[in-house]
Amino acid sequence: MEVGQLQRSFVEYMASLFREGFLDAQFSQLQQLQDDSNPDFVVEVVSLFFEDSERLLNDLTMALDQPNVDFKQVDAHVHQLKGSSSSVGAQRVKNCCVPFRNCCEEQNTETCLRCLQQIKQEYLLVKNKLQTLFELEQQIVAAGGAIPMVQ
């Protein structure tokens, strides 16, 4: 694919992510924070987010798998997940956290498990999308083009 095409695909893809609510304005902030001294900032932060989220999701799974669920602990995990997802702009993941916390308050394991399931799905979705986005970026760069700024 030639550079122009790649760039157009990139822009469109990015726009769709925003449109569909996968990403929000916070992600744009990340993009703006990227500069010459931190050229891979977005990728770096998103990677951190992936790692952190997967760890949290594992912890959540384990916590909810206990005979006696420690809901405070679960709530703490969810809270953190909410924080990090909101910081990177993973809007749909963040939105799942709110009902999750409510379930924790109610100390309902079942509903919590359902929330967990949903969060995992959203997480995997946004992870996939972002990875696709980064690949597009790489292709553009490889083809000698510049990454267009999407606002």
Partner: protein, 656 residues
Amino acid sequence: MVSMSGDVATCKSEATVVTDHFPVGLRVLVVDDDVVCLRIIEQMLRRCKYSVTTCTQAMVALSLLREKRGTFDIVLSDVHMPDMDGFKLLELVGLEMDLPVIMMSGDGRTNLVMRGVQHGACDYLIKPIRDEELKNIWQHVVRKRYNSSKEPECSGSLDDNDRYKRGSDDAECASSVIEGADGVLKPQKKKRETKEEEDTEMENDDPSTTKKPRVVWSVELHQQFVSAVNQLGIDKAVPKRILELMNVPGLTRENVASHLQENQKFRLYLKRLSGVVQQQGGLPSTFCGPIEQNSEHGSLGRFDIQALAASGQIPPETLTALHAELLGRSTSNLVLPAVEIQNLLQASLQQAKCIPVDQVMAYGQPLLKCPPSISNSKHLSQAILSAEDVHSGFGSQRAKNICLGPSSNPIELAAPNSNMLMAMMQQQQWQKQQQMELQHRQSGPPVVNHSINVQPSCLVLPSQLPGNFQVGDSPASISHASSLSKSSVIDYGVLSPQSNNSSGVVQVLDRELKPECGLNRLPSGGSLSRSCSINADNSVGLQLHNSSSAFGSSKQLPALIPNHLGSPVPYYINSSQVLDQGHMRNSGVGKCASIPSRFAVDESDSPMCNFNTAKIYLEETKVKQEPNMNVMENAKVGPAIFQTFQPGDLMSVFGD
């Protein structure tokens, strides 16, 4: 140093005004267990040109803050953290370091925000945080300092207020103690310097003098002044008579009056601190006083001294008496055995000294004046660290006690103590010098006269006071200090022959005065190493700066910070380097003081060794070695450099 009286007003306004580069270099510590948020906030802060240090654990953050007092201007902390509740951290920081703390949380429920407010948070940010919100966090630093400086009655001397304000002007004034040291920010340095100079000028309550062309009180001139006063006797040392005796063409009565006033104020200040005008027993009364006083009046209000100093209403008798003391009428007072000094220092340090650094500064006296501009580079932070160490070595209590003035920076607080000590030492030296000089008027190197003669032995050096210093560092660091002091000593020129003895304090100052960058900057990357190399160039600057002893020694009296810092030493070096050679020169006395202030007394907390606990600061430790080398080199250069100092600077330093 020539300050403009008019500047005072400017200073004042500037005190709360951001310097050109302010708040660039604001030193922020961010604590959040969420690495994603941490990274993002870090980047945002970097974009704001702040100096960022990150932590994922509250305990680490706390130890960082404790170990390196004065290296941060503000703390951002998450509310929910696994090892410690954010509010708890908030409380502790507010209590121990008196730094502004901003809370962050993804949870923005009112009750939580309320808790934050109740625990003393300056602000509460809700995640996700936008960079616009972070841009303005500097206001909390300024506000806090400003309010602090306003608390005590800063009546009287504008300088005091300015000092405080300056110190509080965020990073810039981080170290009000540091003469001319512009706290953390580089630009601050200049500002501070100016301020310092202005302050000293402002010391004179005599409006006429402030407006007149400045008279540079050279060493010789001061000598004449001193001898004239001595001749007249305290009671009769009125400006007119002094002027007559001095017989210096072009010198006006007002010049003399203001000079007298400056000295007296300082002396009065000391006197009041100690409650004893005359002290026998080997300590210069004026200088011993404060120290001893400290132990007795540990509770001395933060701004008490300031008030004292500030109040222009000093009875002439007291003034003259103080002045006489200052001038070392009684030789016995001048000679303070190193041991005694140490003891005094220790004693004083034991107590929380609420000697506002500014106060000390105000008098521009021998008090250590840290290099005026401690740029906010990492070096600065290092210096700060060392300063802190120093203080801790002294066993000073909470930095807070050492009220260095408005600055909430504990480091600054610490400085006063060291300043006092330094001042004492310096005074002693100075007086000794004076006497010697008087005896051999024309003999000896001219330089001898001015330098505060900080005898290395007199300085509280780690080597001398090993017990006191809490510097957990290895002896190596101490030696660093020693070498440092040597250089600084040399700077004084006077000490050149003796410079070899000097240890620690002076040296430390030199180091700290590294012109490179702000002492107090703890680089997030932990690169303290910056200014480790004390070059000859630096040494010059250092010397000037280091002469905390305002004894008119080299312009830049390096802050005589007891060198008991083990590891901190390297930091000092940096800071001194940062302290700006250039700035120091101008500010003279004041500068040095700032350094000490920077090094807030590290209250009993973690010994210096803990330095390395913060991973971020690991790098710092590496730096240690360098300065030593340089210091020595500088030492050699010292005397020569010293010679180049303008006598006026020395004098002014003293006169500050």
